[in-house]
Amino acid sequence: MDNTIIQLEDVSFSYEHSSVLEHISFRVNKGEFWALIGPNGSGKSTLLKIVLGLLKPSEGQVKLFNTDLDIFKQRERIGFVSQKANSFNSGFPATVLEVVRSGLTRKKGLFKRFTKKDEDRAMYALGIVGMEPFAYQSIGELSGGQQQRVFIARALVSKPDLLIMDEPTVGIDQQNVASFYSMLNTLNREYGIAIVLVTHEIDLVTDLATHVACLNRSMHFHGVQSDYKKLDDVDISKWYGHPVRRVHQQTSEVTE
């Protein structure tokens, strides 16, 4: 059985005449946890948009679950959590349960109403991220970290095989970031959900992820975490375009 979830073959993308991504090829398989790292403006978010079908690549081919992206219909197999989730309208009158249940909209299809079973599924998803006790609270009353957990529950409610996250820890205080990542680890290990995470929090994530991809317009490295850790800091600095130093198996950018 083929376990491929995302397959990119020689994908390039340019905005008007400026090249953003050049000849990207990589593959994400079932159960893998990928950390997609790279400096600002390296094309990480653009790559995610291409995978999500929001942008069309200038060249190359994208397949999801072995189906060409253009004809891929099973959107519910992919959960998405954006970095903008923190900037939603906090005055919106909705309970946590209503928000999570809305993640089933596409799966239910047109003209269908939510049932008790859908509510149970939403409660289950909230339980996974430890937010069940907040189900009937207004979403605007929660902290940034709690809201982001709710948005992960919304992404999980349709039982996706893949969770894509674009810098989900933006706006979460540092104390809660570690527990947030540990929850992602549980999702990956216990529930077998493949994760692709774009992040700047490279210290924690490269320890948790099973695979690391380093992008700066082109893919400079992609492979298992242990190979990433064997890389030379000089090479990584060259890819980043400025000095990067990894300390005690952790990676940190040197700001000058």
Binding site: L52, G53, L54, K73, R75, E76, F80, S82, K84, A85, F88, N89, G91, F92, P93, A94, T95, E98, V99, S102, G103, L104, T105, R106, K108, L110, F111, K112, R113, F114, Y136, Q137, S138, R154
Partner: protein, 291 residues
């Protein structure tokens, strides 16, 4: 009042229409407010003014229009305006709000031309601008009922999609919800509700019935369903009380309905303030007790 209601058809028309729009205007208004589109309702009502004024003017010139209910042309122009707003929002992607003043001023401009060209439809026009208890015909009532069926059907069947698109349009797009098609239908439905409501509340005040009860509801509601119920409750209270007041004082119901809506809003704001202060007091009390 009850005696008059049972005796006069025009009063029955006004009250039945009022009860229906007291439900559909705030119901749709909730989606308009949470999507930050409140001013679009204003723009569309002014486009409806152009249609009404155009129809009244043409009724003086062409025999066919003399027999035509001006509400039809009002609704048709509001629907056209809603489609033009959508088109302009697409053209000015980075300045989407520009569509509102463009369409709003076009509506007022055309309305002003038709009003200036015509000679003496003062009292008719006042009725359309500020609403009327006496001018609602049985035909108007049937139009309102038909529009209410369309609106409630649309919200019932597309509730999940409308919620997802209102709460987080980007996520809805990624998850494959057909946002564009639903948005176009939503705009047309908004124009229809404005068309249905203008006979009672008046063109100039119709958007307030779609927004003020909602503004009060979101002060009190924790859930979206709760906000929906409060919006309808407040809208309905304002319409019924406003119509009764207008009947006894012999004035335009648009004004009384809006002012009662404002009173409800002020009460909701006061209730929220008191509740927040009491909560803060409780937290403080617990803290000092813990300490």
């Amino acid at each position: 009042m009850i005696q008059a209601l049972l005796s006069f058809e025009f009063l029955q028309n006004a009250f039945l229409s009022g009860i229906i729009i007291g439900v559909i205007a705030p119901l749709l208004g909730l989606f308009i407010v949470v999507r930050r589109l409140a001013l679009i309702a204003d723009a569309l009502s002014h486009v409806a003014l152009a249609g009404i004024a155009g129809s009244l003017y043409l009724s003086q010139q062409v025999l066919f229009f003399a027999a035509l209910n001006p509400v039809y042309l009002g609704i048709a122009s509001a629907v056209t305006g809603s489609l033009l707003i959508e088109k302009l929002r697409g053209t000015y992607r980075d300045f989407e709000e520009l569509a509102i003043p463009i369409i709003l001023s076009t509506g007022i401009g055309l309305g002003a031309i038709f009003i200036s060209l015509s000679k003496g439809f003062g009292s008719d026009l006042i009725g359309y601008l500020f609403g009327s208890v006496s001018a609602v015909s049985r035909q108007d009532l049937w139009i309102v009922i038909l529009i209410a069926i369309v609106v409630i059907g649309f919200i019932y069947f597309f509730y999940n999609e409308l919620f997802a698109l209102s709460f987080d349009p980007d996520y809805a797009k990624v998850s494959g919800i057909h946002g564009r098609a639903i948005q176009i239908v939503f705009m047309i439905i908004t124009a229809l509700v404005i068309g249905a409501s203008m006979r009672i509340v008046g063109i100039l005040l119709v958007s307030s019935l779609m927004t003020i009860p909602v503004a009060a509801a979101i002060q009190l509601a924790k859930s979206f369903k709760g906000a929906m119920l409060y919006s309808i409750l407040f809208g309905e209270t304002a319409v019924i009380a406003g119509l009764v007041l207008a009947f006894y004082l012999d004035i335009a119901p648009g004004g009384t309905i809006v002012i009662i809506s404002i009173v409800i809003l002020l009460l909701a704001l006061a209730w929220k303030t008191v509740k927040d202060k009491l909560n803060a007091f409780d937290v403080k009390g617990e803290r000092s007790y813990d300490a």
